[in-house]
Amino acid sequence: MGAVSPLGTDIESLAAGIEAGRNATHVMDEWTKCAGLLTHLAAPAELKNEKLIPRQNRRSMGRMSVFAVQAAEQALADAGIAVDSIPPERMGCVIGSTIGSMKSISDMFEKVLPGWDISGLTSMTFFQCISHTAAMNVAHHLKITGTVMAPAAACASGLQAVGTAYDLVRSGRQDMVLCGGAEELHPTVIASFDVLYATSAGYNNRPLETPRPFDRDRDGLVCGEGCGILLVEDYEHAKARNAPIYGEITGYWTCGSGMHVSQSDRQTMVRCMKNAMNEASVEPKDVDYLNAHATATRHGDAEEAAAIREIFGRGVPVSSMKGNLGHTLGAAGAIELILSLLMMKQGILFPTHNLKNIAPECEGLDHIMESREKQVDVLLKNSFAFGGINAAMVCKRA
């Protein structure tokens, strides 16, 4: 596994940040000039050492693709696979994001639109803007010649990518798949939530107190960025080469709500979680930890809490990582799945940061408000997205 996140540029800093209860929210001073933007907050990741990637590979990469390459290299190293030993055609690369590099897209519009003149566009603009830019760049950089795909389902992209990798491996089409999600911050990304009043706008002068998933005083999400990458591998294949195994994916489901493009829907969330558990042949009582999507929007958290309550009641410990990381959008499902697997490995469940007073509409769950020791044999990870997209994954201890 590998990650570049608002808490650091590797898995160790991510895990240490969560363990220490750090919050990555910052005031983005340069964005205050953006008229109409209600929130001035975001959770940026650090872009560093990008020049270690050769220029001819890096030239087609926007910020998110650099994060993706760095996380993918970490994941390969962690899995004990040298870049020059990647098997031809048998390793795939599935990395989702909400959209291509928004900085590159914005730069392109700024160059072209004022005079409707394309003569200032570089050859690489397109490759940074396309929706599969992270998957394409990682595959190109690592010379991966198996299946290359990029699920684009907004904030469910990362978990859908891992689910797609799971499908590719269990169908026998691939032995291994590097998979996950990537995202980069840009004022236009924030704006997509801000215009809907979904961002946290009441904490601009006290950023460390937001976002507040499931909390009475939550007022919206804080956008983050980064990338999480996992190597999903055929179990026997992994055992045969003595690979480190963090968990086994045993169930996955994704579905549409058919209800509303932005409003979450508890009934289809319930259906999604139940279908993932059915596929994994586990009952609600078997699930030891649930990592919630919970972004700290008023409606989304209430719907997810209701869905969890309907299935589990207080029967499963629940936490959201977004109080630490912000909402890393297309990367969230992958980064948070990585954290969930680390919790399973360590036997420690980390709390929902900034959850101080449980909102009445989010009550009736076993909210994790302080770290607790617990053996986790089965975990459930949720991701939900604009467009009425639901995704849920079940992993068990390997």
Partner: protein
Amino acid sequence: MTEEEIIAKTKEVFIETFELNAADLRPEKHLFVDLGLDSLDTVDLIVALQEKFDVKLRDDERVRAVRTLQDVYDYIMKVQKEMASGS
């Protein structure tokens, strides 16, 4: 603009855009063989030269004949002279 100024500014393009070392930028160096550029880089070279010298080069067929760094210097000098003479 003097020849020296054109050479200096062209070198800046290669250093800034293609991250090359100044010491490697000798006039006889072939863009592809010696400096490691490829066909996509030549598109970006044109864009960068346009910005650096405030000229329009994209539709100029002569740019396709450029092979070495000296060719680039010569080409930009020709373009500058043509602009100065109004042709």
